[in-house]
Symmetry: C2
Subunit: 413 residues, 2 copies
Amino acid sequence: MSERFFTSRWVERPAGLLDSRDLPAGFRYAGIACGVKDPGSSVLDLGLVVSDVAGTISAARFCDSGVLAAPVVVTRERCELHTIRAVVANSGNANAATGDAGIAEAERVQQAVATALELHPREVAVASTGVIGVPLPGERIAAAIPALVGALETDPGGFAHAIRTTDTIDKHASFELDLSAGRIRLSAQCKGAGMISPRFATMLCFVQTDAALSAPAADLLLEATVRRSFDRVSVDGQLSTNDTVILMANGSSGVVVAAGSDDEKLFGDALDALLRQLAVRIVADGEGARRIGCVQVRGAGEDTVERVARSVANSPLVKTALFGGDPNWGRIAQAIGAALPGAAPLRFEIAIEGVTVARDGATATHDAAALAAAVAGAEVLYEIELPGHGAAAEIFFSDLSYEYVKINAEYTT
Amino acid sequence: MSERFFTSRWVERPAGLLDSRDLPAGFRYAGIACGVKDPGSSVLDLGLVVSDVAGTISAARFCDSGVLAAPVVVTRERCELHTIRAVVANSGNANAATGDAGIAEAERVQQAVATALELHPREVAVASTGVIGVPLPGERIAAAIPALVGALETDPGGFAHAIRTTDTIDKHASFELDLSAGRIRLSAQCKGAGMISPRFATMLCFVQTDAALSAPAADLLLEATVRRSFDRVSVDGQLSTNDTVILMANGSSGVVVAAGSDDEKLFGDALDALLRQLAVRIVADGEGARRIGCVQVRGAGEDTVERVARSVANSPLVKTALFGGDPNWGRIAQAIGAALPGAAPLRFEIAIEGVTVARDGATATHDAAALAAAVAGAEVLYEIELPGHGAAAEIFFSDLSYEYVKINAEYTT
């Protein structure tokens, strides 16, 4: 799995990684068709992941929209986020902008899963993805929970499939990792293709490991790795109402990742690579995407470099040029300027795939043929140097294609 | 002209407007082919507008990018902005991100026009629009100035044509206005279709009147009307490097618009309607646009309502839904939430073409068929109510279509 999974040159293959795909023990998964997307259809749209181990540790992160979906509100407010044992997730309906009724429906689903699994509702997280503003058929979902629990198995494939919306490629992976304290396993299932913004992203991601982590360690590791992955991608600059990432560590391997140890560093690097590769996959599967870009900005001021990186990554002009294989760096200059009003004259430098196209804020002589060839690849790197030193920001982004327009103009997503 | 010009229901027909198209006296215009866009071609790409009246009063506004084009820098720094007598403008090359050489080329063009017209360079504004980062052929333009001056005529049509880039519809108008002090005339030529952001827009607009205005009045009137027009449109949320608006009032009608008079109010209203209708035309001619939207946000806090309006107007998800004639208000909820992190739960209300689709932050029962019919028109109104009162913001925006992608992926603009 890992051989085929870590495919981006922007993700370092973690140390200690084994070329096996054994799954973390003590987790079970299910995905069934419940008719949320389309009543009567056999499309998988309801999923469940469960840790069978009491004392499982968890950590969670959510988006920060002013319009939060009901499942996010319910999970944040009614769950004990460090002791989540199960996550129930549906696709086809976001249960967002659905008011108090939406909260009640999310709670109904949470309660049904807790009852079926003999857990406390605070141990059951809920997640939804799909269309906004449509009432969730919570009664239908609750009625399907016994069948969902009956479908639990060790293979996460069905679960991973059930959380997809407009996704066209699989975004799940499992691998083993050798730590000095022993061998552990990681598995993750992720969805996301549109409404993806660098301020987090419209996505769900569930990560399981049989390593034993403390609650503070799980929280810190998830915080650090989400910031370098799902918080650094843009398909269309649109912040979702539903983003949810949940890490569960059930310790069933018997291997303890001690705080401050070298093993914690190794585990963190592996989690980092896993989430970054999933984030790059989201971008590569961005609605209608043909190419992906990575913009790296260096200069003075964390706020400045991040603002510029987001402006470039979200620019429809830069994105259409990326789609067209057009090395039109003037649009990058435009996006830099738009991010920094009042900063003129700005002595920026731009390199595309290592070819310096602008220096001191102006055209730099370069080999146009070499540049044209470089931007025709599947991954294009844009490096921007601003005045000063000390800060750096990086964002992965998709291009903007006919297909993006088609997907979003012709379907209600 | 005015009958066919004031076509949007969002622009009030100004009081005192006459259905004639007499031009302001004392202005001359020219547009010629100079080979900036394409050497040897007969496409008009160099334009000039001149006031023949000594003592002409002017006012100017520019965009606020951190990457300002050379003509903006030269006009801002070397012109006396209240006494501009001539504007020379080229299309096909933005002269932006061109460094010190670009400044020198802009000055060369400015000097050539000053010499040919026997003006001081500080009376000659320069403007450019087109591709960024390509050296301006200033020598070729300077050599063409005598021919340009020789082509001066009273009809602004050629000038209006010469400043176009991807524009597909005319954006110029002339009309007469009856003030109590007498009859005056207004004429304006405008270009803009892509790289249009609500923080001003990628556009040039030149306005001439034979009314007599004081310099402070011209400045105040331009400030107020630009803020309600070109500062309130979005095609793609992209801020240009070159935006320039210049108002010239030469007083040749003998009619003085006195400060604080009813005439000043009438004149201001007419200028406001003129610039708003031009701004709406820019949006309607937005690259690939089929429909235009207008989002009006009301609630507490100027900053809040403006942030929400910009977020909705710039959202590619809202724009593709507008293109598809899809009344998908969930995407509007998403854009509201994205603009106001931490504000959940937010009790917003959304109405589309008068149909209330969300109330108290959640789905409101509505007539889906009526709504579907309403969003199929050429102009779609989105009204958003946020908690509180006292502030309002409005932005005009275009949809996002296949054609936008085509224009920006397949051409270097």
